[in-house]
Structure formats: structure tokens, C-alpha cells
């Protein structure tokens, strides 16, 4: 392996703030939308939807990269409870704006961005180190 390949590759993306703040953590990527009520366990901060690609996986403390929300209007309430239970993600990056994800991000109070100028599902993989500087609308990805 050459020295150049061993070095971590850093990618910077620019987008729009949804909720302000700054956080750095490991990425957890889902190409599928995620439910709130009926789709997550708010005590563990994990996905419980049958057949979901993240079924059984915890998003607590991760930078959750996903298309957005789906399902019941209990979305925000369940992600709100995640914050109160200490199981919320560290930050969120999503691609499809809806009232569920907007309100859920607001009450989760975690740094959140959308409208990034690159395909996050191409550029970010689970395990990459991701910094979300939501106030600046900047996401910095360090590939693992």
C-alpha cells in the first residue's frame, strides 16, 4: 500500500443549516428513510422496523446520514424522547425535507444539515468520521 492511499481522504461539502450546532462522530448511513413511532426504540436509540437495513442498529451518538423521515406523525415525539433518554444521534444529515424530519431535528436539538452539494450516499460510508458544522452549513468527511 502506498503512503498516499494510507492517508485519510478528507471531503468537504456545503449545505443548509436546519438546526445549528457542531458535532463530530462516526457516520451511520441508511439509504432508506426511517420511521419514528413504530420504527425506533427510543430507550435504546435503535431502529426496530422489520426488513429495514438498520434493523437492530443503534444510531445513538452517531452522525446519522439518511434520506429523511417516513411513517407516523409520532416522528418528532419519538426523536424528542431519544434526546430526553440520551439516545439521540450526535448529528443528522438528510436529503429530503418534510415536516416530520424538520420538527424532529428541531426537538432533537442536534446539529442538522440538508441540501448538501454532493451525493452523501456516494461520499459517506458507515464508519467514516464526520464533522457537522451546522451553523456554517459545512460537513467534513474523513474517510476510514
Amino acid at each position: 500500500m502506498s503512503e498516499a492511499q494510507a492517508k485519510p481522504r478528507v471531503i468537504t461539502l456545503k449545505g443548509r443549516k436546519v438546526v445549528g450546532g457542531k458535532a463530530t462522530a462516526e457516520a451511520l448511513v441508511s439509504t432508506q428513510t426511517i420511521s419514528g413511532w413504530g420504527g425506533i426504540n427510543e430507550r435504546e436509540g435503535s431502529v426496530i422496523e422489520l426488513h429495514h437495513q438498520l434493523n437492530g442498529v443503534s444510531f445513538a451518538g452517531k452522525v446519522l446520514v439518511f434520506p429523511g423521515a417516513k411513517g407516523s406523525s409520532g416522528w418528532s415525539a419519538y426523536w424528542h424522547m431519544c434526546r430526553l433518554n440520551g439516545t439521540a444521534p450526535a448529528a443528522m444529515i438528510f436529503t429530503r425535507m418534510t415536516t416530520k424530519i424538520a420538527l424532529g431535528a428541531v426537538v432533537s436539538r442536534v446539529p442538522t444539515v440538508t441540501d448538501l452539494d454532493g451525493d452523501v450516499f456516494e461520499l459517506i460510508e458507515t464508519g467514516d468520521l464526520v464533522e457537522v458544522d451546522a451553523d456554517a452549513g459545512v460537513v467534513t468527511i474523513t474517510k476510514r
Binding site: L50, G74, M97, A102, V106
Partner: protein, 424 residues
């Protein structure tokens, strides 16, 4: 975000601390959405009741704290005044009469009663159903609403032509105290045109078939807006209630157009407006069968529990279930719970339907459902339901196997004690 003078005054505390906190949340939420302004609403349907174990700890402090934290996202406890505009409570976690059968801790049932007194004093109408449009909250065409409950939102937008996004617990709390909600999404007429065309090439007749078409639709369009062609059946409230609930479960559908059936678009041209008409997604016999199979999350046929009434049953559905159970007896190893709004239950009682269902061994429940309460009869391993929405959610929530079928299949299986349904 642009605020009117009145909205600015509310934000600045001129109309009390609760309105100020509510406006603060609406501004944070509106800015997250990218909304430019708020819109007035006089119709709010939300979830305010304290009836879950996770809320109990907060409620022990005070019910003002429950509202402040969970309905306004406020860290400080605010004294909550009377609501500013008509507001109703949607489905809750506990049936006030059948909580023991549900397996609910009596202390939690008592908390719900205290919470209801608190909410009623503040002008919140305790409809306690996922279907407020069945019991007196029927918005008119074009009315701006702030509703939660995905199955009610899709019904209000599509069948009634009202305008609401899928709101949440916090935004409906803020809307109740201010009469405002972000003007975004489906409040704006330009966002209400169809983006997908679904061509129906098979018979969609009874309620179960409408539920399966809805379940297909959610997967096909996710949260976008479909229009339909090729429907031959004239659906009733019951069928559209099931169709919408299913589409909002498998996807996030909040509005659809069925020219000739729903009021906003009389033709496909009107449904698509300025949008290009895409190639249709075909729903034929093969798609119906595949979707019906997708709703089966079970392998064991020995049946422990049959759940009917999601979304909450109409009086017509209560009459049908009574007819199917008349003179019959549900198997001793199987439980049957039938869910209907409390106001409709009164009509069912008076019409003798409740007595027939109970004589057969069933229970008529109100105020709640197993997915919301997370309560099923003790020891349940295998359930069956006539609701695509419940079949989608309950197996995950209650960690059980789940069968889906028509109401006739469900009732006959409850009598037999084993799943007799077949994929249609």
C-alpha cells in the same frame, strides 16, 4: 421568517409566556423547513395526553411540565393557558374503561384521567380517536389545519380537500396556543399537484383490497403525491380511511388525487396541473398479490389475538362485525379486540352491536389501539388484523407474528382459533 405584528407580539411575550414559547418553537421549526411565513389555523388535532410510562416521570412533577416539555419543547415549566383555537386530542394509550383488559397499570390509567381533566379545562376536545373526521371534526375544502396522525392527515387533504402537513406533538401544541403553523408544503396550492400516476388494472373492491392498494402506493411513491386512473369501484369513507392509512404507513403519502372521487382534481389534467404526467406505475393482479404477501409477517397459524379497527371503526364496520359474530363464539385460545371511537361506541351500544360482539367473547375498545398502547393480550405470539397499517406496525412494536386479511377472514379465524386467511 416574516412575522405579522401580532405574531411578533406573541414571540416577544406580549400575549403571555406560553404563547411566546409556542412562537419560539414555530419560528425554529419554520426556519428548519425554509418556510417564509406562518398561516392562521383554527383547527388543531394533536397528542397532548399523558398516558405512557415514559411520560409518567415528567407528569409526577406537573402536567404543565408535560405540556411544556413534550408539546412546546420548552425546558422551563410554563403555566399553560386555554387554547387559542379549536383543538382536539387524537388517539391515546389507554381505554378508560378497558385498561385492566389491556394490561395497563391502574396508576397510569389514573394519570390519563387527571391529564384529561387538565386538558379539558384548557379547551382541548377529548375525541380520543385517530379519526376525528368521524366524530365531528370535519374540515372543509381549503381549510388550513394543523393535524397529527398520518392516517387523518391523508384523509383530510385528499378526501376533504383541507390543507395540512403531517404535524407533530410539539407543533400542534404550539399551534393550539397561537393559531399559527408554518405556511409550507401542502398549505401552498402549488405543492398540491400530482407527481406520480398509478394505473389500476385489477379489481379493487372491498376494504382489504383498498388497504392493499394503499400499501402498494406508499412503496411506489414514498412521500410524493399520486393520482390514479382505472378505478372502477366508488369507495366509501371506510375504504378511503383504510387506503390512506396504508399509504401513509408503507410510504409517507399525505395527499392523493382520484379524479371523480376526491374533490380537488376533477380530471387527471387538473390533478397534474403544471407537472409533466409521468409514465404510469401499473397496479395489476401480480402487484396486488405481491403486496398482499408482503403484509404477511407470520408463519404459525395458531392464532392468539385478532385486532380490528385501525383506523378506528365506523359504525358500518361495527355493524358488519356484529353480523359476522352473531350467534358465534370466538375460540377460547383467541382474543378479539374491536376498536372504535367512543362517540361511535355509544351508537354501537345503542344498536346492540356491542352486546353481540361481547356475547361472542370479543371486547369493544375505544380511545386507543394496540400499536399506540403497545399492549396486546398476555402471551400473544401470533396476531391477525384487517388493517394494513396495523399489520405493518404491530409485529415490530409487539414483537409478534402478524397476518393480514379481510374482516371476514379475521373474524372467521378468531372463531376457528387459527389463521384461515388466503392471499387474494
Amino acid at each position: 421568517m416574516r412575522l405579522t405584528d401580532h405574531e411578533r407580539a406573541m414571540l416577544d411575550g406580549g400575549h403571555g409566556e406560553a404563547a411566546a414559547r409556542a412562537m419560539d418553537l414555530l419560528v425554529r421549526y419554520g426556519e428548519a423547513l425554509g418556510a417564509e411565513r406562518l398561516v392562521e389555523t383554527r383547527n388543531v388535532a394533536g397528542a397532548f395526553n399523558a398516558s405512557t410510562p415514559s411520560v409518567r416521570e415528567i407528569a409526577e412533577d406537573s402536567l404543565d411540565r408535560v405540556f411544556s416539555e413534550l408539546n412546546l419543547d420548552s425546558d422551563d415549566v410554563i403555566e399553560i393557558p386555554h387554547v387559542a383555537v379549536p383543538t382536539c386530542q387524537l388517539i391515546t394509550g389507554i381505554d378508560n374503561d378497558n385498561f385492566a383488559t389491556q394490561g395497563v397499570d391502574p396508576e397510569l390509567a389514573d394519570l390519563q384521567l387527571r391529564s384529561e381533566q387538565y386538558l379539558g379545562k384548557r379547551g382541548i376536545n377529548l375525541m380520543c380517536t385517530c379519526t376525528p373526521y368521524q366524530v365531528g371534526n370535519v374540515p372543509v375544502m381549503g381549510e388550513h389545519c394543523a393535524w397529527m396522525e398520518s392516517s387523518a392527515v391523508i384523509y383530510a387533504n385528499s378526501v376533504l380537500g383541507a390543507r395540512t402537513n403531517v404535524e407533530g406533538k410539539e407543533s400542534t401544541g404550539a399551534a393550539a396556543l397561537t393559531g399559527r403553523i408554518p405556511y409550507w408544503g401542502l398549505h401552498c396550492p402549488e405543492n398540491r399537484f400530482a407527481q406520480h400516476l398509478i394505473r389500476v388494472e385489477t379489481e379493487v373492491g372491498d376494504m382489504a383490497e383498498w388497504g392493499v392498494l394503499g400499501y402498494f402506493t406508499g412503496f411506489a411513491v414514498e412521500e410524493e403525491i399520486p393520482a390514479f386512473e382505472g378505478l372502477t369501484d366508488q369507495p366509501s369513507l371506510v375504504k378511503l380511511k383504510h387506503f390512506g392509512a396504508a399509504a401513509a404507513s408503507s410510504g409517507g403519502v399525505e395527499l392523493y388525487h382520484m379524479p371523480g372521487i376526491t374533490p380537488e382534481a376533477a380530471s387527471l389534467d387538473a390533478a397534474f396541473g403544471p407537472n409533466a404526467r409521468p409514465e404510469p406505475a401499473v397496479y395489476g393482479a401480480a402487484e396486488r398479490r405481491r403486496t398482499w404477501e408482503r403484509l404477511q409477517n407470520a408463519s404459525d397459524r395458531k392464532l392468539d389475538f385478532v385486532m380490528l379497527g385501525c383506523p378506528h371503526n365506523s359504525i358500518e364496520q361495527m355493524a358488519l362485525i356484529a353480523e359476522l359474530l352473531d350467534g358465534k363464539r370466538i375460540h377460547s385460545d383467541t382474543e378479539l379486540w374491536v376498536h372504535t371511537p367512543r362517540a361511535i361506541r355509544q351508537v354501537a351500544d345503542r344498536s346492540g352491536y356491542t352486546a353481540i360482539i361481547e356475547a361472542a367473547g370479543g371486547v369493544v375498545m375505544s380511545d386507543t389501539c394496540p400499536s399506540i398502547s403497545r399492549k396486546v393480550p398476555a402471551g400473544t405470539r401470533v396476531i391477525a388484523t384487517d388493517s394494513a397499517k396495523q399489520a405493518h406496525y404491530l409485529p415490530a412494536i409487539a414483537k409478534v407474528q402478524g397476518w393480514f386479511g379481510s374482516v371476514e377472514q379475521c373474524v372467521n379465524s378468531a372463531i376457528a382459533g387459527e389463521w384461515l386467511g388466503v392471499v387474494q
